[in-house]
């Protein structure tokens, strides 16, 4: 589904991704872990199409189509979804209006008519229940005045509404207490199918007890330096990121 080949990217002349290669197939869950500043959010933003980042070389193929040639909105309509590490507050824009617009643009792209109001509201109700999102939040301005946990649940609610093929969850666990973490994980697991794929970006192993990955990648200095099974996450948790640094140091010396 997603194939990233030797991707190099920079922002404001500062090199951040230094040759990422990653393959994600339908039905898989991949975890990307790494210390702060290693480039996890950058990778997520580059997949979603944030214009500020410059792709210096390499390719991002999504169902064999070059993603970098598509605008962010086109990627989304093709089925790419990014759950933001820091969901943006948009005053005055109601959550529900925003979602209706998004859903209908995606439907138009698929050659479908706008969803009937009744059907839309039923869908909202069903998906909001999945992440136990308070009824009132649907009518409020996008993320405005939401607590940290509500913002993260709102991301998964949007994901549920848009039903993407590839979801990239950027630190959706950070700032969540254990109950909220369970709710979010339950949402993600419910949405998982053999046709879609998920990339879970996280700093901590904790989330992976609830969303069990097929692969764990360690990102360091803009490069995937280690890939393994879910046990790698436990090992990382135990030994800390310094372990990776040391290992790398040895490799460089050797």
């Amino acid at each position: 589904m997603l194939r990233i080949n030797d991707l190099h990217a920079s922002i404001e002349g500062k090199k951040i991704l230094n040759g990422i290669t990653l393959e994600v197939n339908a039905g898989e869950i991949h975890a990307i872990m790494g210390p702060n500043g290693s480039g996890k959010s950058t990778l997520a933003s580059v997949i979603a199409g944030k214009e500020e980042y410059e792709i210096e070389s390499g390719e991002i193929l999504f169902n064999n189509e070059e993603l970098t040639e598509l605008k962010p909105e086109e990627r989304a309509r093709e089925g790419v979804f990014l759950a933001f590490q820091y969901p943006v507050e948009i005053p005055g824009v109601s959550n529900i209006n925003f979602l209706r617009t998004a859903l209908n643009e995606k439907r138009a792209h698929q050659g479908l008519d706008p969803m009937a109001a009744k059907e839309f509201l039923a869908l909202v109700k069903e998906k909001a229940a999945l992440v136990q999102l308070d009824d009132k939040l649907k009518n409020r301005s996008v993320n405005e005045g939401f607590s940290g946990g509500e913002k993260k649940r709102n991301e998964i609610f949007q994901m549920a509404m848009l039903n993407p093929k590839l979801a990239v969850l950027d630190e959706t666990d950070s700032g969540l207490d254990i109950d909220a973490l369970r709710i979010v994980a339950h949402g993600v697991n419910t949405l998982k199918s053999a046709e879609n794929a998920t990339i879970v970006v996280t700093h901590y192993q904790r989330l992976l007890d609830y969303i069990v990955p097929d692969f764990v990648h360690v990102l360091y200095n803009g490069k995937i330096v280690k890939t393994g099974s879910k046990e790698l996450a436990l090992e990382l948790e135990e030994k800390g990121y310094d372990w990776i640094k040391q290992e790398l140091g040895e490799e460089i010396q050797a």
């Binding site: 605008k71 990627r75 989304a76 943006v88 948009i90 209006n97 848009l162």
Partner: protein
């Protein structure tokens, strides 16, 4: 000087034809007044020369007045065509007077000597106006809806309003200014509004004239004790629009709310000048003006607040926020506070910026096109002001005009 005088006389000479009712005092006063020029501080950013150089005329009624009424709104309807009063639904309550304004009404009620040239021209040459009077403790059930239609054939429309709310009276008025065709024309509107003790007036003003139209609107409001005055000025179209709000708060415990929204594109120029004069203590005034400016359009906001020496315990709040959508768009914003009392709370702020890139990316990352993302954010930006339009039908109407003007498909 000589040239300026000739221009003034030439401009005015086109107005005198066919007029019977005018105030000779105002005519006399006009001899001493001149049009603002680049040295006139109050008109620094709004140049009237292109208007003064035109030859305009006061046109007759145009019979084909399309339906500009606000859908579903139950209201007392008043219609002006090219400045002529053509429809005047009389209220069924004899405590409410809605009638054609006579020069004598004007002289009787005019409280200020207003030495401003456009206002004086209006006083001198007006040939139609409306007088709205509510007796003591009268509460208007239905809003009064005033429609102004103008055509684009170099028409000069003068409109005069006198609105008097006696003690304890309450009313809501919505004004709509529309062009029935494109082309240059000029609306010179003057309102005198008197809100007496404990009375309450809510005014929504919708400006939707054509892109070549000139519109100068001068409002003189007098508030007495315990009164409440709210005006929402919603400018959705028009070539050059100047709104001058002059509020004299001459009583205790008054509340004054001035809100404005201007969404500009093309070569539009919109200038909002507000002046709130707090003469007495224990009052609050609040101003929120928001604008979005695209293409080569220009906006002006000038908010003056005076707090006189004896006007203690005043709370005056003023905020002006602007979004520039193009490199050639511009905004001139200037708050001016003159405070002579020591126990007051005044705050003002002005910001001019762009749409938040992070927010735009967030919307697009959900599949929303650039155009719709802008529309959503623009509507969101406007909502802060539009929440003050409390009548749902009026608000729906404004939203519909907005969508029409900016091709929003949401």
């Amino acid at each position: 000087m000589g040239e300026a005088l000739t221009k003034k006389n030439r401009f005015l000479s086109s107005l005198t034809e066919g007029n019977s009712t005018h105030s000779y005092a105002a005519l006399k006063e006009l001899e001493h007044l001149d049009f603002p020029n680049r040295k006139t501080e109050d008109w620094r950013y709004t140049r009237v020369a292109p208007l003064i150089n035109k030859l305009l005329r006061q046109s007759a009624v145009r019979p084909e007045t399309e339906n500009f009424y606000i859908p579903q709104l139950q209201s007392h309807k008043i219609v002006f065509s090219n400045g002529n009063l053509i429809k005047n639904e009389v209220a069924d309550n004899n405590r409410i007077t809605i009638k054609k304004l006579e020069t004598s009404d004007l002289l009787l009620n005019s409280q200020a000597s207003i030495d401003e040239i456009f206002t004086t021209i209006n006083t001198a040459y007006t040939h139609g106006g409306i007088y709205i009077h509510l007796d003591k403790n009268t509460i208007l059930e239905k809003p009064i809806e005033i429609i102004h239609l103008i055509d684009g054939q170099n028409t000069f429309a003068q409109i005069r309003k006198l609105i008097v709310l006696e003690q304890g009276a309450e009313a809501q008025i919505v004004e709509g200014y529309y062009s029935s065709e494109t082309g240059l024309s000029f609306t010179n509107a003057v309102s005198e509004i008197i809100v007496k003790d404990n009375a309450k007036l809510h005014l929504d003003k919708i400006q939707f004239e054509s892109e070549e139209h000139w519109h100068i609107n001068s409002e003189y409001v007098y508030q007495e004790s315990n009164s409440n005055f709210t005006i929402n000025t919603i400018t959705l179209n028009g070539g050059t629009v100047r709104n001058g709000l002059n509020i004299s708060v001459d009583g205790n415990n008054c509340e004054t709310n001035l809100n404005g929204l201007y969404l500009l594109k093309g070569k539009q120029h919109v200038d909002n000048h507000t002046k709130v004069d707090h003469k007495q203590p224990h009052c609050t005034s609040s101003e929120l003006y928001k604008g979005m400016i695209d293409d080569q359009a220009t906006g002006v906001f000038n908010g003056k607040v005076f707090v006189r020496e004896d006007a203690q315990k005043i709370e005056a709040f003023q905020q002006n926020s602007n979004i520039l959508l193009s490199e050639n768009a511009s905004m001139n914003a200037k708050p001016e506070l003159e405070i002579y009392a020591d126990d007051v709370k005044c705050s003002h702020g002005s910001t001019t910026g762009q749409f938040d890139d992070e927010a735009l990316f967030y919307l697009k990352s959900r599949g929303i096109s650039e155009k719709n993302a802008h529309a959503l954010m623009a509507a969101g930006f406007a909502e802060d002001v539009l929440v003050n339009v409390t009548n749902e039908f009026i608000k729906l109407h404004i939203n519909k005009l907005l969508k029409e003007r900016f091709n929003w498909e949401l």
